[in-house]
């Protein structure tokens, strides 16, 4: 390295603190796409997790295992799938979503949904079923019973949300393939880091890496605090 890492760090911080428009556009793309994907999938995924945990039906075992498998599919494979769907001669080619944020959101939804379903199913399965049955026999309506249950499980459910969010915020394969890394449109944090590193310009890559690092710290601290509150205090 001809540039010392201290100089690079200094450049990275100045990019962030001077609100360099390119850097902030990239951060903005990352968060808006990932939040959209998360919000669209959140309720249906948790509902499915609930259904899988609390009901018995034929094929439940199959669905559960399928979702477990989907969790571990590499994101580039999901990217390939979405790319083939959206390409000009693909099934959804008429949507013209390839290399747009909409296409990226679709890909990220497919990546985060299995994580949300599997983790919320695990959370719901950990609850004593009798509490649920009691509240139902006492005449509490369906939705409010579910609401009470979700409040009870807010820490593991929040864990599920954060795990899903961090998976889509940091994945590079699908975003690169479906989004195409277009500046000010589909260039997000991970694809920008990949590009800047391949150009040999490390300052912007480090700045964006710092953003992810700071975010991880904030999320972990939040979780830690929540867990602490959820635990019964022992005297």
């Amino acid at each position: 390295m001809s540039e010392g890492w201290l100089v690079l760090l200094q450049q990275a911080f100045s990019l962030l603190l001077s609100f360099d428009p390119e850097v902030w556009s990239i951060i903005n793309v990352s968060f808006s796409v990932s939040f959209a994907a998360l919000l669209i999938t959140l309720i249906p995924s948790i509902a499915l997790g609930f259904v899988l945990a609390f009901t018995q039906f034929r094929g439940r075992w199959l669905v559960t295992n399928l979702i477990q498998t989907l969790q571990s599919i590499p994101t580039v494979v999901i990217g390939l799938l979405v790319f083939l769907l959206l390409t000009r001669n693909g099934v959804l080619g008429d949507l013209k979503w390839l290399f747009t944020q909409k296409g990226m959101i679709l890909g990220q939804m497919l990546i985060c949904a299995p994580v949300l379903v599997a983790l919320s199913q695990a959370a719901f399965s950990s609850v004593d079923r009798r509490a649920w049955e009691t509240s139902r026999t006492l005449g509490v309506s369906w939705p409010s019973a579910v609401y009470v249950l979700c409040r009870e499980l807010r820490v593991p459910l929040l864990l599920a949300v954060i795990a899903a969010f961090s998976r889509i915020l940091t994945e590079v394969g699908c975003s690169m393939m479906v989004g195409g890394n277009i500046l000010n449109a589909t260039r997000n944090i991970p694809t920008a880091i990949a590009l800047e590193t391949s150009k040999g310009d490390f300052a912007q890559a480090i700045a964006l890496g710092l953003v992810l690092l700071i975010l991880a710290l904030i999320l972990n601290f939040t979780l830690g605090t929540l867990r602490g509150k959820a635990m019964p205090r022992s005297h």
Binding site: M1, S2, T87, R88, L98, F99, G180, N181, I182, L183, A185, R187, T191, A192, L195, S198, K199, G200, D201
Partner: protein, 272 residues
């Protein structure tokens, strides 16, 4: 003609074989060459370097990347020799004392691709500046590599000469290699600038045509540049010089001129 499958098998076998049976090359027998993706992707180096290796006993390890990064690696002394195609950046590299003895090896040319129906009507423009100005005036979608590669630098220089700023609606910087950029331009039915070699290699996959080519402004000369021993005495300067000397020899020139992809000659050896 081999079929795809058998040639893939042969390739796999030869790779395995060379790994299994080649004695490990000594450090002073290895030449690290930083070059551009276009020379590597077109298959030229794979076709001519083995001859040099046999004659000289050196082993050439190719690091294929964009021109910007290739020169950066050379500047940092991470490679022994560099071969790129961006005259302005190369001149700077030599003037700042990092590179010595730049030699023109060969040239190919750039072409402007566009959709078959040519929405911006650039076919028949008097020069490339006019063609670019028409694309911006329309405004039609134009895909830029946006990765500091030689092609990207060339494209930016043309916009500059055409007095057009690249903030028009439709200018799309993608930060990808040449091949990926062509596929994206095809998907979006956009205009783009490419070297002829990569276009020929991808032609079968593309629904795009050459809408403008020719003229001095689209020439694409490649140079090999040695790295200054005063800056980095411990590099393999002997090997680098041997490679540079061989590339301008009549034998290498003939091989470069005879190299064809799908029946088209990609590179013209320099006449010096």
């Amino acid at each position: 003609m081999f079929t795809k499958k058998s040639s893939a098998l042969l390739l796999a076998a030869s790779v395995l074989g060379s790994v299994a049976f080649s004695p490990v090359a000594l450090a002073d027998e290895i030449i690290k060459l930083a070059t551009t993706t276009s020379t590597e992707n077109s298959g030229l180096l794979g076709a001519i370097l083995p001859t040099f290796e046999k004659q000289s006993g050196f082993e050439v390890q190719v690091i294929a990347t964009g021109t910007g990064k290739a020169l950066k690696l050379a500047r940092q002394g991470d490679v022994d020799v560099v071969m790129t195609h961006a005259p302005a950046a190369e001149a700077k590299f030599v003037n700042e004392g990092y590179g010595i003895e730049p030699r023109g090896i060969m040239a190919n040319d750039f072409v402007v691709l566009g959709p078959k129906n040519d929405p911006a009507k650039i076919n028949g423009s008097k020069d490339v500046n006019q063609a670019f100005a028409k694309i911006a005036a329309k405004p039609a979608t134009f895909i830029s590599r946006g990765d500091n590669s030689g092609t990207n630098m060339k494209e930016l220089a043309i916009w500059n000469n055409a007095n057009v700023t690249t903030d028009f609606n439709g200018y799309t910087a993608v930060g990808q290699g040449m091949g990926k950029t062509l596929l994206m331009a095809n998907e979006l039915q956009a205009y783009t600038l490419t070297d002829r070699g990569t276009f020929v290699a991808y032609k079968a996959k593309l629904d795009l045509e050459i809408k403008f080519d020719g003229g001095e402004a689209l020439a694409n000369p490649y140079q090999i540049i040695l790295i200054n021993p005063k800056k980095y005495p411990d590099l393999n300067h002997k090997g680098a010089r041997a490679l540079s000397d061989w590339l301008v020899s009549p034998e290498a020139k003939k091989m470069i001129n005879n190299y064809k992809v799908q029946g088209e000659q990609l590179f013209k050896a320099s006449q010096k």
